[in-house]
């Protein structure tokens, strides 16, 4: 025979219609004779219904948009060739002759279609090439410029923060700052690419590597990884570069009148 506490663990399943018919029958029979479980199931139900009614506030649309964009940016949008790959994969592993033929036929089909896609779409892309990599090309909008500017300031702060960190107590702050900045790096890289600013892109590539390293710091090897990261900052002279870029950005910002 089950004890009362064992019956209590069936309450949740009971309200979810998740119990087997046998379990339900045993529970209902017990409830007919047990006053204490009757009281408990009433209490249980009141909390259960509060939880069922709970609704989380919707995410702000602009946040959802930027989030979707970031995920797309990290893994790429779905492509036609990818769809074909999935279709083709469905036949993988099946060995019957019919599947073999289907496999072969789909391969030919993919070949033809992919060929068409590739050759029909290859058009020389005209990219505005900036001759002087140290000069900013025309910015996209003042908001983008501001974003880069703030990013550079935040970078400087994070780099300093990492360089001055000495013990475990700085560990969480550093990791967290690095994670936050890493995400912003993707957006800035996008703008830098549009600006075709090679110097900035170069800097951002280094930042991305470094921040990735710092985001994944773990407690056991903290001393070692921090030393490596500090060395990278020093060797690439990132602090000076971030200062220089700030000055350049400031000039562009002033030209833009923001």
């Amino acid at each position: 025979m089950k004890s009362c506490s064992e019956f209590e663990q069936l309450f949740e399943g009971y309200f979810r219609s998740d119990l087997s018919p046998a379990e339900e029958l045993v529970l209902l029979t017990h409830l007919q004779s047990c006053v204490s479980c009757n009281k408990k199931i009433e209490k249980f139900y009141s909390i259960h219904s509060v939880l069922m009614k709970h609704k989380r506030p919707a995410a702000p649309p602009d946040r959802v948009e930027s989030y979707y964009k970031q995920v797309d940016l990290s893994f790429g949008r779905e492509t036609i060739s990818h769809k074909f790959l999935l279709f083709f994969n469905r036949f993988a592993g099946k060995r019957s002759p019919v599947y073999r033929i289907a496999q072969f036929a789909s391969l030919v089909l993919i070949g033809v279609i992919v060929g068409w896609i590739v050759f029909a779409q290859v058009e020389p892309k005209v990219v505005f090439q900036n001759n002087d990599p140290y000069q900013m090309s025309q910015p996209i909008s003042s908001v983008d410029i501001d974003y880069i500017y703030y990013y550079l300031q935040a970078s400087e702060m994070v780099l300093l923060e990492i360089q001055n960190s000495t013990d475990q107590s700085d560990f969480y702050l550093n990791r967290e700052l690095a994670q936050k900045l890493l995400i912003k790096t993707f957006r800035v890289s996008e703008i830098a690419l549009q600006l075709n600013n090679l110097r900035m892109i170069n800097f951002l590539n280094r930042m991305e590597l470094l921040l990735h390293e710092a985001s994944n710091l773990n407690e056991e090897e903290i001393d070692e990884s921090l030393d490596t990261i500090k060395m990278v900052i020093e060797e690439a002279d990132l602090l000076r570069e971030v200062k220089n870029l700030q000055t350049l950005m400031k000039r562009t910002k002033d030209q833009f009148g923001t």
Partner: protein, 178 residues
């Protein structure tokens, strides 16, 4: 059977686009789950983005003993709990934070929203990590006890105990407020 198996296999072979499809399938769920722990969409977004990067990096470690979604949700739960811990730790660095903001914080929104006036949320935050995870997945994400067991890496009966204890605790702390 796991509906994501095929995409997971492709992703394991380094196919970024296949993982992208998985990411699009679960991005809403992951964001919502992170929000349920953090009660703040800015932090939830950061966590969710990191979850997908981490998941792609470590997909080779996914042994396919559970559904992909359970594995992904486990990463999300751990990352959210980590973020919450460092959020508490961060309060100790308020001075540093001010410097950071003066130096040009990109977002104009407050970074951490404190004191959310929601009795249920406060009561939920008093539960143990496992109890809270069980409640959030069961009630706010409609996951089965089996799936929750996979996320928490424990047995189904343990999940039932977590759920039951959690509801008892919620009853107590909600009553105190009245």
């Amino acid at each position: 059977m796991d509906p994501d198996r095929q995409l997971v296999r492709l992703a394991k072979n380094g196919n970024k686009a296949a993982f992208g499809k998985l990411a699009r399938r679960y991005r809403d769920g992951v964001l919502a789950l992170a929000y349920d722990f953090l009660n703040d969409y800015e932090n939830a977004q950061d966590v969710a983005q990191n979850v997908f990067m981490k998941a792609f990096k470590n997909i080779g470690d996914f042994e396919e003993k559970s559904r992909f979604s359970s594995w992904l949700f486990r990463i999300t739960v751990n990352a959210s709990l980590d973020a919450r811990k460092s959020k508490i730790r961060r309060r100790k660095f308020l001075i540093k934070k001010e410097v950071y903001e003066k130096n040009g914080q990109v977002s104009a929104q407050p970074e951490w929203q404190d004191g959310i006036d929601d009795t249920l949320i406060n009561a939920l935050n008093k539960l143990s990590d496992h109890q809270q995870t069980a409640i959030i997945l069961r009630y706010f994400h409609d996951k089965s006890v089996r799936e929750i067991a996979d996320v928490l890496d424990c047995s189904e009966s343990t999940v039932r105990i977590h759920l039951h204890r959690a509801i008892q605790k919620l009853d107590k702390s909600l009553k105190k407020r009245k």
